[in-house]
Each structure stands twice: as C-alpha cells, then as structure tokens.
Symmetry: C2
DNA sequence: CGGCCTAAGTGGATGCTGTCCACATTGGAG
DNA sequence: CTCCAATGTGGACAGCATCCACTTAGGCCG
C-alpha cells in the first residue's frame, strides 16, 4: 500500500504480459457505460495498472483503440444476431423459416442496441469511416459480420420466394437504414426509455414495414 | 498590433453587445465543418474576440452552447423540408399532392443531411436527450418543427386515402427510422461518398419502401 | 445630472486530456 | 553470455472545460 492508492490491478513484473488485450477490455467497459466518448486512453491504462504512454506501444493513438473497441462490439452484435436466429423454433415450412431468420437479424440488432447502448454506439462510431463493418474482426461465432448475416437472410427470402429477385440488389441498405434508424431513436432519440414491451412492438412494426416495403 | 495576433474580429468596447449570438454563429461554423465534437468553447470565444470565460455569462456550459447549435440546425432542417415542399409542382390531383408533400419531407431531410453533414450530426447529437426535437426554437419558417412537418404530411396521406387511418398512429416513427437510418449510412456509413445520382436513387428507394410498408 | 448596482468581460488557476521525447528495463535470440 | 529490440516509465507540453475573484461600464434611481 506504499506506492499509491490507485485502482486494484497491481503488477510486480516490469512487463505486463498482455497489455493490448487488457486495454481493449478496459476500453470496452468504459464504452459500455458512457459510449465511445467515454473511452479515454488514460483511464484504460490506469485500469490496466500501467502508465498512459504504455498504450502507444500497442495503439497508434486513441482512435486506434476506439477502432478495436468498435470491432469487438460489432462482433457482439453479430453474436446477438446469431443467438436470435438460433432461438427460432424449428419449422417444416421453409418460407416461414427464411422469414424468421430474416426477422431475427433485425431483432438481434435492436436487442443489442437496447441492451448495450454504449457499446452499440461505440460499434458504429467511426471517425470518418464505418466501412470496416465487413472486417473479419467484426465477425461473430460463425465468422460472419452483421452485414453478411443480413445479406444471407435476404438471400434466404429470395430463395423462399418471399422476395422478388429484382428487388434483392441493394435491399440490405433499405433494411439496415430502417433498423439502424430505429435503434437510434430508441437509445438516443424520442423513443428512449420506452417500456420494454412497447419497444418490442416498435421493433416488430419496423420489421413489418421492411418486409412489406422492401 | 501590440496586444496580440489573434483572429480578426477586434473590439474596442468593453461590452461585446451581442455575444450570445456571436457565439452561436461561431459554434455553427465549427459544427458545419467537423460536427458536434468540433464545437469547442474556447474556439468560439476566440472567434468572437472574447476571453473563454465570457461564454459562461450566456451559456451554463459547453453542452448548453451545443444545444443552441442543435436547435438552430434543426430549424434549418425544417426550412429545407419546407423548401422541398414548396418546390413540388402544383397538381390537380389531391392524392398526388399529398404524396408529393410526404415525399418532400423525406427528401428535404436527406438533402440537408448530405449538404450539411456536420450540422446535421450536430442537430441530432444530444447528450442523453433528443426529445427537444419539438421545441419552438427548432422550427422553420412556417413555425413548424421537422417532426411536426412529418406528422402533417402523414395526416395528408390519410386524408387523401393513401394511408389507412389505423396505420396512422406511430407512423412517424417508422418513417423517421428509415429516413434517419439512411442519412447516417450516407454521411458516416458505408454509403458515404456515394455519387450524388446514386445517393438520390437510394433516397427514392427508401421512401418507396416507407410508402409501401408504412 | 450624478452615483451606484449589477450584468458582462477579464485574469489566473486547477485538473483533466492526448501526445511527444528521452530514458530504463528485461526477455529472448545469437 | 551478451546484446538488441520490444515494452514500460517519467517528465513535459499544449489544449480543453470549468471555477473563483476581480474589473469595467451601462443604465436605472434619486
């Protein structure tokens, strides 16, 4: 207790051993509560029990760390989507199955947005670029990114005859727009704080609109 | 040239005279290029030719200034919508007119987002609250906020028989979700930098989806 | 017409941030 | 066993929001 009264994670070796991951872990926690702007380099290093400058051995700057957080959060989005799809009760009807898998993509996306708003905002907070939504590091358990999962679900709709093939091109952007917009209304916007049941209804209505309008 | 080599706007009177508006004006310019995070108090006061602390006589803190910027930008969104509606060629057919007025709401919203991405992001950047989208200060020339303009356009669809009355409740959130989501994909997301013609197509497709799916 | 009250602007300080530089340590390759 | 390069440290700097005490002067009251 002589050195200082900082956090907890002390360290006796000069080397940390796994600083990069420790920083990402700490940054994820910061983003979880407080969103991307709460990811502050010095706080992460403090948590890791290391001097601020040590971070620069593993990340070019704050944005690089934030980018790693974004990728990790994106992967969690993918996993939530996959979990939602896995929870779909099995059906004989292939059309119903395709439809359920498609809807699960949207509900998973929006469930994550509501359960982890800070991380969700961090996932899509990209200083000047969010194209990396297709990087491998953003993939879930099945190795697919949220964007890829959406694309596959749409292909499934076409295969099942629920979506005309000529409507397929660009359909991901229509669906993504609607779902992402609702996510923002729900976590930052006028729909923030909506009771869970009503939020769930809103989610279903938006996905209904997409199915009808796509 | 003895005192300092700061910006340009000098001042010989001790009183500034209109500091509050000068700060908002400067902050708007900062947000125009760089979005909400570029709105920095000291920069605004510098531009106004005043010491940083002077801002605190007019705004509680940085967030209060940012809020004023948000309101002003929101009013510009409303004005763009109104302009878009005014540009609709007159028609005999009331249904066509209602439809055109509705679509103008969406195209105006998205035109502003693409023309002034920084201000658009500032308009909807609300630290923990974006409910104030209905404040009077966010109104356009007709005294209506973007949200009110959307509601009226939807009412027009119902009156024209283009939208079933039982679908009307909550419809603003469906439309808003889709349009706002596309705005973000276009200015921050994977659709960023899309050539103007293709962006215009995407806008039309999303509004098509809304009309069909609402 | 003159004095004073108070709103508006100033000056200086504090603690936070990201980032740069030079230096210390040490694990592992040769 | 030695030395190197990767990793962590210490100190510094500029910029930021914000706080406090002080100064200035515009306009109201007598």
């Amino acid at each position: 207790m002589s050195p200082a009264g900082n956090g907890k994670p002390k360290r006796d070796t000069y080397r940390h051993g796994d600083l990069r991951n420790a920083l990402i872990e700490a940054a994820l926690e910061l983003a979880r509560q407080g969103g991307p702007e709460a990811v502050v380099l010095r706080a992460a290093t403090r948590q890791a029990g290391v001097v601020p400058n040590a971070a620069y051995r593993h990340f070019a700057d704050r944005d690089a760390l934030l980018h790693a957080v974004s990728q990790a959060a994106m992967a969690q989005v993918a996993r939530t989507m996959e979990a939602e799809q896995a929870a779909v009760p099995p059906t004989e009807n292939p059309a119903a199955a395709a439809r359920a898998r498609f809807r699960a993509v949207g509900t998973g996306y929006l469930r994550y947005a509501r359960e982890e708003p800070g991380l969700f905002r961090a996932a899509f907070h990209v200083p000047g670029d969010m194209t990396h939504a297709a990087d491998d590091t953003a993939a879930g358990a099945t190795g697919k990114t949220p964007f890829e999962l959406l694309g596959e679900a749409l292909d499934g709709l076409v295969d099942a005859g629920l979506l005309a093939a000529d409507r397929r091109p660009g359909a991901e952007f229509l669906a993504w727009s609607a779902v992402h917009g609702l996510a923002i209304l729900l976590i930052d916007g006028p729909l923030r704080g909506l009771p869970s049941t009503q939020a769930h209804d809103a989610v279903q209505h938006v996905i209904d609109m997409i199915e009808r309008g796509i």
